[in-house]
């Protein structure tokens, strides 16, 4: 058998939890060669991060327990090595970067100091560490590297922070870089830049890259080989091309089928009447324009998608309409009446008609209330919608409508998975029979297959109940399948709006074109073309 740079053999890890023993990974084997990019693809709970945690000695034992297996790095079995030996490898020869750079950078030290620390921690002199840190900061493309060294993590954007994390990881020219969801928290255009940077760095240093991701697009863009994981097991291994075109395992096929952006695009109804019209809607924080004179109409029973990167003002629009924040100017006409001028009492009545589904269902459901209490609260607030003796039945009916079971009513939010929680949040929004539901990144935090189910659910509700949706998202393929019309926002302004077909097939504004080109497609062939288009646009 040929010697690999890193090889995981028959690894099994289990955790002792309150609910019993959980087998996090079972009999997992994979290997990595120098200069190669291996993607580990899986949804949450699939155990995709566990094997890399074992490599980095990050599993707490107990509750974790490595029951079986070997991890060979450069001919040495890491699991048999002492803590001392492993510390000498970590950071020096095997480095890791994480999803959320803000929580992994220490806020009280300058970034220059932190990057140098990894180098001095392995016994290099201070001056050498400083020089190397500066070189790295320059290499990862931070503007004004000399000044940047003296700044603190909060003074950088999300993408820049991830670049700094990469710089930190590369401090000692590791042989292997493990990237755990490195681009998940980033905007599409930034994601593409970070992946390109990783690729360039890999070519320069010849390191092996392990890319842990849930995104088929990332696999298509960056990976040489991919392993697909489900429920702690590897179900399939292959090149992105093979996986896409002749997936063997049903789970891989299910994942591919769930990937959004392939369905028929919808045609907006030209005759529909607007129910919500925003005119010159504005919001300023001091001199900063979060939203600058935004105009749009939302028709009855149609889905209007608002897309844009973080900070583009798409959530602000929703918050102004719902009066969670006060607008600085303009009007929002709901059936001809200006929402922004309504008194709290009048607004209370309108709230029945406009409901909202938030991004993170874990946070938007009160953890101390049962599902029944969460859903029926709407009727406590708006008496007269449903008689009290019929509450139980109606809650059960709503739960059925969103694909949950009647007996779920007595449970608490923490007893459900993320996708189920989002269904509860949708059931709560439906309780008042609203005309408009605003979904603020309602599916962004969910796994691809769950995401597809929730989108399907929303689509069904739209068709059956005639509810209009304002669908705020940063993920373009989801929008493509679900929306009638699309608004593209950038820095508080609408740059382009139109029917979904026009936006996706014939985008006029360069910003929209760039946004579309930066999106990652699960098909490696399509992705290669996109990448060329992207490079042309940025050139």
């Amino acid at each position: 058998m040929a010697e690999h740079l890193l090889e995981v053999r028959n690894l099994s890890v289990r955790f002792h939890t309150a609910q019993g023993v959980v087998n996090a990974v079972n009999d997992v084997s994979w290997h990595l060669d120098p200069g190669e990019t291996l993607a580990i693809l899986g949804e949450s709970g699939s155990g995709k991060s566990v094997s890399s945690s074992a490599i980095m000695n990050l599993i707490d034992c107990p509750p974790g327990e490595i029951t079986e297996g070997e991890i060979f790095f450069d001919g040495m079995d890491l699991l048999k090595a002492s803590d001392e030996e492993r510390r000498a490898l970590n950071g020096k020869r095997i480095a890791m970067i994480f999803q959320d750079p803000l929580s992994h950078l220490n806020p009280v030290y300058t970034v220059g100091w932190q990057i140098a620390e990894t180098i001095t921690a392995h016994g290099r002199p201070d001056q050498m560490a400083k020089d190397r840190a500066l070189e790295l900061v320059r290499r990862v493309g931070i503007p004004n590297p000399e000044q940047a060294m003296k700044k603190y993590p909060h003074q950088f954007s999300g993408g820049q922070r991830q670049r700094l994390m990469i710089a930190m990881a590369l401090g000692l020219k590791p042989d292997i870089l493990i990237a755990d969801e490195p681009t998940t928290a980033l905007d599409v255009t930034v994601q593409a830049e970070i992946l390109t940077l990783l690729e360039e760095l890999q070519e320069e240093t010849g390191m092996g890259l392990v890319l842990i991701t849930h995104d088929l697009g990332v696999v298509a863009e960056a990976a040489d080989r991919a392993v697909v994981m489900e429920g702690g097991r590897i179900v399939e291994t292959g090149t992105p091309h093979d996986l896409y075109h002749n997936a063997q395992h049903p789970y891989t096929r299910k994942l591919l089928a769930a990937a959004p952006g392939k369905g028929e695009m919808r045609q907006p109804d030209a005759q529909a009447q607007p129910i919500l019209s925003c005119r010159n809607l504005s919001k300023t924080y001091g001199a900063f324009h979060a939203l600058d004179r935004v105009n749009f109409d939302l028709m009855k029973a149609e889905t209007l998608a608002i897309v844009g990167e973080s900070g583009s003002g798409k959530s602000t629009t929703a918050r102004l309409i719902l009066r969670l924040e006060e607008a600085s100017g303009g009007e929002a006409l709901w059936h001809g009446e200006d929402l922004l001028k309504k008194s709290p009492r009048e607004m209370g009545k309108v709230r029945r008609q406009i409901q909202m589904v938030f991004q993170d269902p874990t946070q938007s459901l009160n953890p101390r209330m049962s599902v029944f209490e969460i859903i029926s609260e709407a009727w406590v607030i708006h008496p007269g919608v449903v008689e009290k003796r019929r509450w139980r039945g109606r809650v059960e009916q709503l739960l059925g409508q969103v694909g949950l079971l009647p007996e779920h009513a007595n449970r608490y939010p923490h007893q459900f998975s993320g996708g189920q929680r989002q269904r509860i949040a949708i059931a709560r929004a439906l309780a008042l029979e609203p005309e408009l539901i605003i979904c603020d990144e309602a599916v962004s935090a969910l796994d691809v297959s769950i995401q597809a189910q929730v989108i399907e659910l929303l689509g069904r509700l739209r068709d059956e109940l005639g509810i209009a949706f304002m669908f705020i998202a940063h993920d373009l393929p989801v929008v493509r399948d679900f929306a009638d019309r699309v608004l593209v926002m950038k820095q508080g302004e609408i740059v382009e709006q139109g029917p979904v077909r026009q936006i996706f097939e014939d985008p006029r504004e360069p910003y929209t074109q760039r946004l579309l080109a930066a999106g990652l497609d699960p098909d490696p062939e399509v992705q290669r073309q996109r990448r060329e288009a992207r490079l042309k646009l940025s050139a």
Binding site: Q19, L324, R351, Q363, R368
Partner: protein
């Protein structure tokens, strides 16, 4: 989706799903935590003492017997009432502690409940309302905090008649800022959580948001502070009683007994030790109970008690 979808939801079911608790399961959760069970028994005992003690042992507690001055504990020579020894005037300690429970608990509970309720309400208001109201309340708290409580006590003493009620009042006022500041800090954090916004979107009134959504989240913290404050209030009360407000001999409280016994500490330790022990045990029991309550009232933590407190192996 339909059928297919239903099977999905049951497949991804989180384990240990149980319906909301009834009264009987609350009791079984109490028994699941042995420390909390013992603590609950002790608290019940103290409350019984407080209610019936003066009726049953009132005579014995004030009966002076000069031959039993500073009588040592653990001897039955003078009858079982002297099992814990006698005080400086020869009164038996055990009945005195039992009788003193009434005043002690009344004052401590009154002061803690008063400061708790006022502090929490002001804190919720300060945390959730506009800047101006919040500022006014916070500066008020600063004034109370920077005002020495002894000075306040002396002022009250000169203005008002010494009485138990005034004592409770002084103690309650001086402890308000603790609850107020904690509540406000917690509210500022909780109000930004998504479920509060979800309630706003639904059209919930401010009252509903504050009391139904925010208060239950911060209540465990406040209860823990309140139980710890119990001990502080008991000892502070003895200091104020010494100044002449509130409790005057022959009325007794545990705090007063401790401070009276202090001068005999080298020759007769038991004078201060037994009432001190009563204070410690009461506070500790309340603290254990509040710890149990925090777990029992939190749906995400409740399984710890429902699985019988067994460690997973």
């Amino acid at each position: 989706m339909g059928q297919n979808d239903m099977s999905d939801t049951t497949a991804t079911e989180a384990p240990a799903a149980k319906p909301a608790p009834s009264k009987s399961s609350l009791l079984s959760m109490l028994f699941a935590d042995q420390f909390a069970t013992v603590a609950a028994c002790f608290v019940i005992l103290v409350i019984l003492c407080a209610i019936f003690g003066p009726l049953l042992l009132g005579e014995a507690a004030s009966d002076q017997n000069l031959r039993a001055r500073n009588a040592p504990p653990f001897t039955l020579d003078r009858g079982w009432l002297y099992i814990l020894g006698g005080d400086a005037l020869g009164r038996p300690l055990l009945p005195r502690i039992v009788v003193a429970a009434q005043n002690t608990i009344m004052i401590a509970a009154g002061a803690v409940a008063g400061s708790f309720i006022i502090g929490a309400v002001l804190g919720l208001t300060a945390g959730y309302s506009r800047k101006l109201v919040s500022e006014v309340i916070m500066r008020l708290a600063d004034v109370i905090m920077s005002f020495p409580s002894l000075l306040l006590a002396v002022i009250v003493l000169y203005v008002l008649e010494p009485s138990v009620l005034n004592l409770v009042l002084v103690l309650a006022i001086t402890r308000i800022p603790i609850y107020l500041r904690t509540t406000r800090a917690e509210v500022l954090e909780v109000r930004e959580r998504m479920f509060v916004q979800a309630a706003q979107v639904m059209g919930a009134s401010t009252f509903r948001i504050v009391f139904r959504h925010i208060l239950p989240v911060i209540l465990p913290t406040l209860l823990t502070i309140a139980t710890l404050d119990f001990a502080f209030v008991m000892l502070a009360e003895s200091a104020l009683s010494f100044l002449g407000i509130g409790i005057q001999p022959p009325e007794i409280t545990w705090g007063l007994m401790v401070s009276q016994g202090r001068q005999y500490l080298t020759s007769a330790w038991w004078l201060a030790f037994w009432p001190g022990l009563a204070i410690i045990l009461t506070t500790m029991s309340l603290n254990l109970l509040s710890g149990w309550m925090r777990v029992a009232l939190d749906p995400t933590q409740r399984w710890r008690l429902e699985t019988g407190g067994k460690k997973n192996g």
